[in-house]
């Protein structure tokens, strides 16, 4: 009988303990009417109903939590390299970095650990910068229109490409542009129906091909008629050796 009770007691205690939930709800209150002081060794005055009226000063449950610092333990596209310390909103840090195992908390131990790792892996990192992949994605998507004149003769040079890319919203220095194998001269209206690609070398490391088309610009009667959705139309390759790669590159839909 006794043993049974003890057993029962134990089991209930355990069950109770498992029901304890951590709550983080501190409410900082202030009495609206503070009770008066009493004399030394005097009678403590009775608290009245009004002494139990409180004003809420702070609810720690709804306070904005500070940013969380994490250390990346591998290269993450758009975030950083191994050993980079990121300061993120807690939710983002948990869901996108800590849970998938891309990062660890920036504790003093981890800081020491990744400081050593950082020096080692810098050289062997796959990308020159965390944002290179995004730049590659952007550049491989576009169809670059190079506006060349329809009346004056020209030869396509790298600064034409640089200017066209700047107009399209991409900063590319001239030395990062690798021109197509053969020279392109104009004006030549057959070029209007052809396409080629140039190669952009980002940070002197990653290479990406950019699809280019030449548009002959003129005003007045000389002007070529507007073609709807010309960027969606598949065109023939200008250089046969580029045809294969161009066919693999996706056109915008």
């Amino acid at each position: 009988m006794l043993g049974l009770r003890a057993l029962l007691n134990k089991s209930t205690v355990i069950e109770q303990a498992s029901f304890f939930q951590q709550t983080r709800n501190t409410f900082i209150l202030k009495r609206r009417w503070p009770p008066p002081l009493h004399k030394k060794n005097g009678r403590v005055p009775k608290l009245k109903a009004r002494h139990f009226v409180y004003d809420l000063i702070e609810d720690t449950n709804v306070n904005k939590k500070p940013d969380l610092k994490v250390i990346l333990n591998q290269f993450v596209d758009g975030a950083g390299n191994v050993g980079d310390i990121l300061s993120l909103r807690p939710n983002v840090a948990y869901k996108e970095f800590l849970l998938p195992g891309l990062a660890v908390y920036a504790t003093p131990d981890n800081l020491l650990k990744y400081k050593a790792a950082e020096n080692k892996s810098r050289a062997s990192s796959d990308f020159s910068s965390p944002y290179v992949q995004r730049t590659i994605n952007c550049l491989s998507r576009i169809v670059l229109q190079i506006t060349m004149n329809k009346t004056t003769p020209w030869k396509l040079e790298s600064w034409h490409i640089k200017t066209s890319l700047r107009k399209a919203g991409y900063i590319v220095p001239e030395e990062a542009i690798i021109m197509p194998p053969k020279e392109i001269t104009g004006p030549d209206l057959t070029l209007q129906e052809k396409e080629f690609f140039i190669t952009v070398k980002i940070n002197n490391k990653e290479e990406v091909n950019v699809r280019c088309r030449i548009h002959h610009w003129a005003t007045g009667l000389e002007r070529l008629p507007w073609e709807e959705f010309h960027w969606k139309k598949p065109l023939e390759a200008l250089f046969p050796e580029q045809a294969e790669i161009l066919a693999k590159m996706t056109l915008p839909e």
Binding site: L139, M148, N149, T163
Partner: protein, 346 residues
């Protein structure tokens, strides 16, 4: 009724103490309302016009309000990061800031004969201004100014100038400086007769030595009568003629929906000019806009962009190379007595 009754009662009583009761009024007293009081009250009443609103499906309600929530036109991209790679898409990063020379050179590339083939295209400076005045919720009015840029470039518009001055030597000089018509009292007479029409001239300027002779045609000129405030009356009339003939006129206009946003697009040169001379023009233009600055804290010129059609490129330059970013504290303080001077000179 009761009043009359009472009165009759009192009248009968007046036999005893007549002098005391005479002054007692018990009848309801009518004071005539003052003239116009009712009309004033009626005018005060605001007529509430009830407009019938037809049925709007619940998913379309409040759409007109949504359209009104305007985006702040003072763009701030400081939350965006600074690029670290040598190749990058502009949309994810802060606008690159060029120097004025670099911006002009970039436009010269796009307008090169092999591309747009417009080497003589106009270069415009698009200046954005914070129109807040000294007091909160007070804004500067639209203003227009005329300035002479150091490097001349041909503009499309032709301007006609009528100049008044005395002395044959001076008249000769003024005509050489570029005035369409210059003269003294005989010109005044012609205007009075009607042989010369004031309406044919864009600007009327004068030398102070002839201003007394101009009084007869003051009524004809009305607001165009030369005065110092408008900058049309000066002893150095030759320079004035040059300013009006070759200067550029611009008008800063406030945004309809956003009172604190003013912008202006001013031609500052042509692409065939050297980049350094265009940069000097920009410098003078920004300094001229800065003269209108109200005596308050914070930015006045907020942004400066160099554009050149037909290219759609907008290249941002740093205006604070040319003008001060903020007003010094001393200047702000000694301005307390004179209030917000934002006067237009046209």
């Amino acid at each position: 009724m009761s009043g009359t009754l009472f009165r009759s009662l009192f009248n009968s009583l007046s036999l005893y103490n007549c002098s005391a009761t005479r002054s007692l009024h018990t009848a309801t007293v009518y004071y005539a309302a003052r003239k116009g009081t009712r009309a004033k009250a009626r005018a005060k009443k605001v007529k509430v016009e009830i407009t019938k609103v037809g049925f709007i499906p619940h998913n379309q309600r409040g759409k007109d309000k949504l359209a009104k929530t305007i985006i702040n036109k003072h763009l701030d991209d400081s939350h965006k990061s600074i690029p670290q790679d040598n190749v990058y898409p502009l949309r994810y990063y802060r606008w690159p800031v060029y120097t004025a020379e670099e911006a002009v050179r970039a436009h010269q590339e796009t307008h090169h004969p092999s591309m747009y083939n417009e080497p003589e295209a106009f270069v415009y400076a698009k200046v954005e201004i914070n129109m807040e005045g000294v007091k909160k919720n007070r804004y500067i009015d639209n203003f227009s100014r005329l300035t002479l840029l150091p490097h001349y470039f041909p503009q499309d518009e032709e301007r006609t100038i009528l100049a008044f001055c005395k002395g044959p030597e001076l008249i000769k000089q003024v005509a050489e400086a570029g005035a369409t018509m210059a003269g003294s009292t005989e010109l005044v007479k012609k205007i009075q007769e009607g042989t010369v029409k004031l309406g044919d001239y864009d600007y009327v300027i004068a030398h102070p030595n002839i201003i007394t002779d101009l009084v007869p045609i003051r009524g004809l000129m009305k607001r165009r009568f030369p005065n110092i405030k408008a900058g049309t009356l000066d002893t150095n009339i030759c320079d004035l003629v040059k300013k009006f003939a070759a200067g550029i006129q611009y008008r800063v206009i406030k945004d309809e929906n956003q009172q604190n946003f003013g912008s202006v697009e001013v031609p500052i040169g042509r692409l065939n000019m050297s980049p350094s001379s265009i940069a000097e023009n920009i410098d003078i233009l920004l300094k001229d806009i800065q003269t209108v600055r109200p005596k308050r804290d914070g930015l006045f010129i907020t942004r400066c962009i160099i554009v050149s059609p037909p290219s759609s490129e907008k290249l941002k330059i740093d205006p604070f190379v040319h003008v001060d970013r903020t007003l010094s504290k001393e200047v702000q303080e000694d301005s307390d007595d004179e209030d917000n001077v934002a006067v237009a000179t046209a």
